[in-house]
């Protein structure tokens, strides 16, 4: 693909009709809560979009995010958009290896300085100066700081890059942190999820290609268009929740009838993501539809939010032990205070003496 080729040409070459493309833009616009009147302009600017240089850094991660993005079974416009970007560095996907790969990264950083998009997946360990994860002898910390300097914007893909994720779960032995914990002078888009929905990643890329700017974000840096609502609010099992009909086990009558999974630990009520609407695997289904509660993977610190099968309202610590101790200690304190009360009563009694008119006369004479 030539450097100055545009997305419209690529799509035409791959046999995507204008009609299909417009349909895609309409869906994209609606998923990003943009007005339908913007679709033609959006299509036009997206078609004209030039190849965007992208540097993809993988740190403490499991490659699930990349899998999510690349594992679409049929070529979609989303996957073509992914083809369209100029992925100048990506461990898993690039052909080069060793120092050649690192050279490619440095070259892209120099060539597109200030213009490349930096995508990060995985958290960054900072304990012991970051020695827990290195690439070609360079710590993740160093590599991120270097690459961030020349980036136009940063996309933290996956919960690890966005919020620290699994590596940051207690007790966090590597001192894992998120991209936002380290970089504060660049626009950062968080696309959390373990992994995030592929369409959401490409949707955000498409937005970036169309408008050359980052979409509107919520308080934890997620695009509102995709993370604006909780799973619970868009869940098709919600009517059962509202009626108080819950599955108690995974194979009881309630589970077979598709009742709400709250009691089985569904974290849908506290999770902002678009699984319930965008769904997974070409809109086939999403976890709750296949009978398992939401695990809350797009939330910061979700690994520390209690067991996957514990309901949202369950306490995260043992309360019984402390409760028993408190009652015993309270009883002891009560007895002690009562003893003190008795003592002061007794001493008041001891100080008590009878007063007669003679003693008062004596007192007055003094």
């Amino acid at each position: 693909m030539a450097e100055n080729d545009n997305l419209g040409n690529l799509l035409a070459r791959r046999g995507i009709s204008r009609r299909t493309f417009l349909k895609f833009c309409t869906a994209l616009a609606s998923s990003m809560a943009l007005s339908p009147s913007m679709v033609p302009a959006m299509a036009e600017s997206l078609a004209k979009a030039k190849r965007q240089s992208v540097i993809w850094l993988s740190f403490q991660e499991c490659t699930g995010c990349t899998e999510s993005l690349t594992r679409s079974s049929q070529p979609s416009i989303e996957s073509l958009i992914f083809d369209f970007i100029s992925l100048d560095y990506h461990h898993t996907l690039q052909a080069a290896s060793g120092f050649q790969a690192e050279e490619a990264r440095e070259q892209a950083m120099a060539e597109h300085k200030g213009k490349y998009l930096l995508i990060v997946d995985g958290s960054i360990p900072v304990a012991e100066n970051g020695v827990y994860s290195t690439i070609a002898g360079m710590t993740n910390l160093q590599m991120l700081e270097d690459a961030a300097k020349g980036a136009m914007a940063i996309v933290a893909v996956g919960t690890c890059a966005a919020y620290g994720g699994l590596p940051k779960a207690r007790p966090n032995p590597t001192g894992a942190v998120s991209v936002t914990d380290l970089i504060d002078d660049k626009p950062i888009i968080n696309i959390p999820g373990c992994p995030p929905i592929g369409e959401v990643i490409t949707g955000v890329l498409a937005h970036f290609l169309t408008f050359g700017a980052i979409p509107e974000l919520d308080t934890v840096g997620r695009p509102k268009a995709f993370y604006g609502e909780t799973i619970h609010d868009r869940c098709y099992r919600r009517t059962f929740y509202d009626q108080g009909l819950f599955a108690e086990t995974f194979d009881d009558e309630g589970a077979r009838k598709g009742w709400c999974l709250y009691k089985l630990g569904c974290k849908g009520p506290v999770t902002y993501n678009s699984c319930a609407t965008t769904k997974w695997n070409q809109e086939t289904s999403f976890p709750i539809e296949s009978g398992h509660g939401c695990i809350g993977c797009s939330q910061p610190d979700f690994w520390d939010m209690g067991g996957i099968y514990e309901a949202v309202s369950e306490p995260l610590t043992d309360l019984r032990g402390p409760a028993v101790t408190a009652v015993v200690a309270g009883a002891a304190a009560g007895v002690a205070v009562a003893a003190m009360n008795k003592q002061s009563k007794q001493s008041a009694k001891d100080r008590h003496f009878k007063v007669s008119s003679e003693t008062l006369d004596e007192e007055l004479k003094k």
């Binding site: 308080t219 108080g244 369950e314 995260l316 309360l319 409760a323 408190a326 309270g330």
Partner: protein, 219 residues
């Protein structure tokens, strides 16, 4: 959406609130029980002092004759908010789930739309009581800061729960964290304020009933 705050509220915060509440309440009850009373040398007119006390505990749930008409609004609001509070506390499914996970006992819950409606009514009853407190000159004079504080501590868990459910003001996680924190504030205040009446009222009523019963009269 502050997950860290929610996690803190559901772990450390909840643990400390439970400890302080139970420690404080046990201490106060034991203290009251050990206060002791001077021996009554007169002969008891009624030998069944115990049951006289217990009867009074229940009799006092009903307003004395004539009082209901005199203070209908206050009585009604008082009942509504107490009963509403307990229904919401004990019959909202997530709350039952919490009790089940800590005590291992559970019972069927009510549908959330009903809980929602009861919450609104309970909040309104509390507002009526507050307005009555500030509009009634005598009551206003008698009120101390503690009265307003305990009112707020009772009102906030209901309000934050309602707001969390309806996604008002903050995102759900933050509101849920505030809800849990407001409950913890209430729990901590119980032993050290007039809210301790939730336990001591039984002792006080029993004692009143028992001394009256000993004298052979009904209390």
């Amino acid at each position: 959406m502050d997950t860290a705050l929610l996690i803190w509220a559901k772990s450390t915060g909840l643990q400390w609130a439970t400890i302080i509440m139970l420690l404080g309440l046990t201490m106060r009850v034991i203290q009251i029980l050990l206060l002791g009373r001077a021996t009554d040398l007169s002969e008891a007119r009624n030998s069944d002092v115990m049951s006289a006390g217990i009867k009074t505990i229940f009799r006092r749930f009903v307003p004395p004759q004539g009082m209901l008409q005199k203070g209908l609004l206050v009585y009604l609001s008082g009942y509504i908010f107490h009963i509403g509070f307990f229904i919401v506390l004990l019959f909202f499914v997530p709350h039952i789930q919490l009790i089940d996970s800590t005590l291992g006992i559970s019972w069927p819950g009510l549908r959330s739309s009903l809980i929602d409606a009861i919450t609104v009514v309970t909040l309104l009853a509390l507002i009526v009581l507050l307005l009555h407190r500030v509009w009634n000159p005598v009551l206003k004079l008698l009120s101390t800061p503690e009265d307003y504080l305990t009112w707020a501590l009772t009102f906030l868990p209901l309000l934050t729960g309602y707001m969390a459910y309806h996604h008002m003001l903050f995102e759900y996680n933050t509101m849920l964290a505030l809800h849990v924190l407001s409950v913890e504030a209430l729990m901590i205040a119980i032993p050290f304020s007039k809210l301790s009446h939730m336990v001591t009222l039984f002792l006080a009523r029993w004692y009143n009933g028992a001394i009256a019963g000993r004298k052979g009269v009904q209390s």
